[in-house]
Symmetry: C2
Subunit: 221 residues, 2 copies
Amino acid sequence: MHDVRLSPTRRRNTFEVGQMTAEVKPAALQLTERQEARRRRILHASARLASRGGFDAVQMREVAENSGVALGTLYRYFPSKVHLLVATMQDQLQHMHETLRKRPPTEEEPAARVAQTLMRAFRALQREPHLADAMVRALTFADRSVSPEVDTVSRLTTAIILDAMGLDEAPTAEQLSAVRVIEHTWHSALITWLSGRASIAQVKIDIETVCRLIDLTAPAR
Amino acid sequence: MHDVRLSPTRRRNTFEVGQMTAEVKPAALQLTERQEARRRRILHASARLASRGGFDAVQMREVAENSGVALGTLYRYFPSKVHLLVATMQDQLQHMHETLRKRPPTEEEPAARVAQTLMRAFRALQREPHLADAMVRALTFADRSVSPEVDTVSRLTTAIILDAMGLDEAPTAEQLSAVRVIEHTWHSALITWLSGRASIAQVKIDIETVCRLIDLTAPAR
DNA sequence: CGTTTATCTAGAACAAGTTTCACTAACGCA
DNA sequence: TGCGTTAGTGAAACTTGTTCTAGATAAACG
């Protein structure tokens, strides 16, 4: 009777305040094996379609069909197309994080290390521009109903950057702000590249420029 | 026989390369008085609806109706909802630029001046959060077909920032990159605020953080 | 096991962006 | 001024995201 969703949030942009959803979401509410498999099939289909033709090519009916699941079921797992694509991004980011972890940046200085890491990530995205397009567009188009998921993506990105910095101690508030700014720049630069308004060279320069903030916010020693 | 649009571009995301649209677009191909009036009515209706309920509330049929124009005509003026909203943003930005020009920042240092200006702009947007939502979402969601228009918005923003800096001479390449990064941060921070993932205080800090790049890239004197 | 309840499926229905068409009004110009 | 061309109108059609419903399956649980 309850119509509880597998995925935690609702849709539609409203500007209500607060709401403080204090439910103690168990991170990934227990799924049966078949359900986990379904979820993976869906994400896989989503990524595959996205790789082909970007955001527009990820059509919910197609995703459902390609992953052998009814449309209603797809919506039970991911309550909107944006949710689906953001989840896809989460998935991809996790991979990337692992990959990057295996080959940590070679540079010495934190700023250079971060720039190097981001450019590496950037080159990875270049290999699947359509997929990148779909994910990033979904990410920035996401409204409040997707906040928790977008936040997860943001935390993952932050983790990647902090990893790259290779700090000895916990980051200061200032450094965290610098990291946020780097993240902003990263997303936005990606978008300008994806929409053909900036060259790769320009993205590189912007990344390097923003990474200078890291030196600037390094605690005095 | 020709079905030339009033607004210069087509829709739909394709990933064709280059294309270098070298057409010498006459900036705003001559419109008759009635046409100019229609255009204004449309933009006005768009902004009004956006102020009410953000991106979702701007429905093409409604815009058409509210501006006393047939749906097909609306599409002749603005080939998609995103085009319409980006044009709306252009319009609003122009106002803002003029307003800001009238009261230039009071701070001394370029970095502080820019931060002050952006926070002023930010407070203006706060007064119409729904409108801001609609415009910014459209802007970042825009695909290649909207590039020229998005570019115009970007140039306007750049102009505002450069104005705020109050330079004596032309900006260096380094400074331009810093400005681009500031712009990235500005958009992205706006989005995180609009989707409720960052507080106003946080946006302020991030803006101030990124503005430090201005000092960093100031030419040695 | 049998029953109860939550999930899944198939497919129709709905909403809003976009396109199309047949027609009329306005414009530009010889 | 008359006429060919472009722009605008109204309404229907089409597309794709989203919702809903009824019935079939699978899970949970006594």
